[in-house]
Amino acid sequence: MSEDETGSIQDDKVAERLAAEALIVDVDGFEGPLDLLLTLSRTQKVDLRKISILHLAQQYLAFVEKAKQLRLELAADYLVMAAWLAFLKSRLLLPPDPTEEGPSGEELAAHLAFQLERLQAMRDAAARLMARDRLGRDFFARGVPEDVTRVRKITYTATLLDLMQGYARLRTRDEFRPFVLDRESVFTMEEALERMRGLIGFAGEWTDILSYLPTGWEADPKKRRSATAATFAASLELAKEGKVEIRQSEIFAPIQLRKKDQDHV
C-alpha cells in the first residue's frame, strides 16, 4: 500500500523537481483534487497511514497559489478543496475550541487520510487486475468455435385483445364492404349435386367419381380439391337418396359409382 509498491516514485532529485514542475503545468492531467492530493502526498515518502495531513494541506494550498500566479485556470472543485483544506488547516493549528460544534480537525484529517488511502488501494488493485493473465493476451479461447445449431421451436401466441380486435375488424369491415364470398375456387356441394343429378342417368357402368368433376376444375389444385370434395359429398348425398351405388375396392382406391338399377334391388 505504500507508495514504493507503485513503483512510480522517482528517487532522483532532478526527476522529482521536474515532476513538481510538471504538476503545475499539467494541472489538467489530474483526475480531480483527490488525485492531486495523492500525488502531492508521495513527496512525503511515508506510508499513507502516517501522512501529515497538515503538511499535505499546506502543499495543496501552495500548489493552488502557484497555479494562480501562473494564471492557470483551476476547475471549481480544486478551489472548493482549497477552501476546505484552508479551513482544515486552521482547525488543526488552533487549539480545539470546546464550544465549537461539528467534527474536530483530527476527525476531518483522518477521513481525508482514509479517502487517500482508499483511492490508492483501488489504484493498486486496478494495477494488479490489469497485470493478471488475460484472455486474448495470455490465454486463449477456442479459435474455431463450432456453431451450435439452434433448433427453433416456434410457439404462437395471441392475446385476448388481439382476438377481440380481430373480430371487431371483421365486423367493422362488413359495414363498408357488402359481404362477398370469394367463390372463385369453391365448388359447393349444391352445385355438385345439381351437376350430378343431370349426369347420373348415364352412369350405368361403374365410373370413377373423378370423371364427374366439372370441366376446367382439374388443373388448379385448389379448385380440384374443392370440386372433388363437393362431388364426393354430392355422391354420398345421392347414395343416401338411393339414386346411386358407391364402391371402393380398398383404401385410397378410386371411388366408383353407378346409377342404382331398380331391377337389381
Binding site: 497485470a131 493478471r132 493473465d133 495470455d138 486463449f140 479461447a141 477456442r142 479459435g143 474455431v144 463450432e146 456453431d147 451450435v148 445449431t149 439452434r150 433448433v151 427453433r152 421451436k153 416456434i154 410457439t155 404462437y156 401466441t157 395471441a158 392475446t159 385476448l160 388481439d162 382476438l163 377481440m164 380486435q165 380481430g166 373480430y167 371487431a168 375488424r169 371483421l170 365486423r171 367493422t172 369491415r173 362488413d174 359495414e175 364492404r177 359481404f179 362477398v180 364470398l181 370469394d182 375456387s185 369453391v186 359447393t188 356441394m189 349444391e190 349435386l193 359429398a233 354420398l236 348425398e237
Partner: protein
C-alpha cells in the same frame, strides 16, 4: 504472476538455444496452438511457432493418441492439423430455442370467428371473413389445440364444425366462450367504431342468433 510468466518465457527461449523442451511440453504446445487457432495448422507452422528444435510431427503423434476416444479429436485436414469435436457427439451441438411468435392475422380472425360463432363450419368462416380459409390456418389452430372438431351440422353434406377448446379458454383466461365480450362491449371499449347494419350478421351476446343449433351446441359444449 506476470513476472513468473516472464521468467518462464525467458527460460524457455534460453533453453531453446541449446535444446528443445521435453516432448511432453512440446505436446502441450501443439495442443494449445491447435486449440486456439482459427484454421488448421501445418506442421511447418507449428514448428516455426514452437521453440527452436521442437518436433511438431512427433508431438502430434502423442497428442493424437492422447485424444483417442475423447470428446475431442486431433484430425488431419489436408496437410494441416486441427482439433475437432468427436463426430458421434454432433448431436450435442444443438440447442433448442423456443421462439414465441404472434399469431397471423388470418389465424386470429379465424380463431375469433370460431370463438364467437361456435360451432361453425368452414364455409361459415369463409362467409364471415369474406375469403377462403387456408388449410394451414385451420391446421395451425388445431395443432395449437385451441380449436377442435365439433359435431357435424345437420345440413346437407353434414359439414364438420369447429369449436374452441379448454386450452383456448385457459390461454385467454376465460371460463367460458360466452364470456367473450359481445359487440356492445367491443363498441364500448372503442374496438368497434361504427354500428354494423342491423341483422347483417349473427352475433353473440346480442341475442340475435338465427341458428338455433349454434347456441344449443355451444351451451352443450361449455356446460361440463
Amino acid at each position: 504472476m506476470s513476472e513468473e510468466i516472464d521468467q518462464k518465457e525467458e527460460s524457455v527461449s534460453e533453453e531453446s538455444l541449446f535444446e528443445a523442451p521435453p516432448m511432453a511440453e512440446q505436446e502441450r504446445m501443439c495442443e494449445a496452438i491447435l486449440f486456439a487457432s482459427a484454421e488448421a495448422v501445418t506442421i511447418k507452422e507449428l514448428n516455426s511457432r514452437m521453440p527452436h528444435g521442437c518436433d511438431a510431427a512427433e508431438a502430434l503423434v502423442h497428442l493424437r493418441k492422447r485424444y483417442e476416444g475423447r470428446g475431442v479429436r486431433v484430425v488431419k485436414v489436408g496437410d494441416a492439423w486441427a482439433m475437432r469435436t468427436a463426430p458421434d457427439l454432433g448431436f450435442l451441438m444443438q440447442k433448442e430455442m423456443v421462439e414465441t411468435r404472434k399469431l397471423s392475422r388470418a389465424a386470429i380472425e379465424t380463431l375469433a370467428i370460431i370463438a364467437y360463432h361456435q360451432p361453425v363450419t368452414r364455409a361459415e368462416i369463409e362467409e364471415i371473413r369474406g375469403v377462403s380459409v387456408s388449410r394451414g390456418t385451420v391446421d395451425q389452430l388445431l395443432e395449437m389445440e385451441w380449436i377442435r372438431f365439433g359435431r357435424r351440422k345437420m345440413t346437407p353434406g353434414r359439414p364438420v364444425t369447429f369449436v374452441v377448446t379448454q386450452e383456448f379458454l385457459d390461454h385467454f383466461g376465460l371460463e367460458n366462450a360466452r364470456d367473450l365480450p359481445g359487440l356492445k362491449e367491443l363498441r364500448a371499449a372503442g374496438l368497434l367504431e361504427n354500428r354494423p347494419p342491423p341483422g347483417s350478421m349473427p352475433t353473440l351476446g346480442e341475442g340475435d342468433d338465427g341458428e338455433e343449433e349454434s347456441s344449443e351446441g355451444q351451451s352443450e359444449l361449455f356446460e361440463d
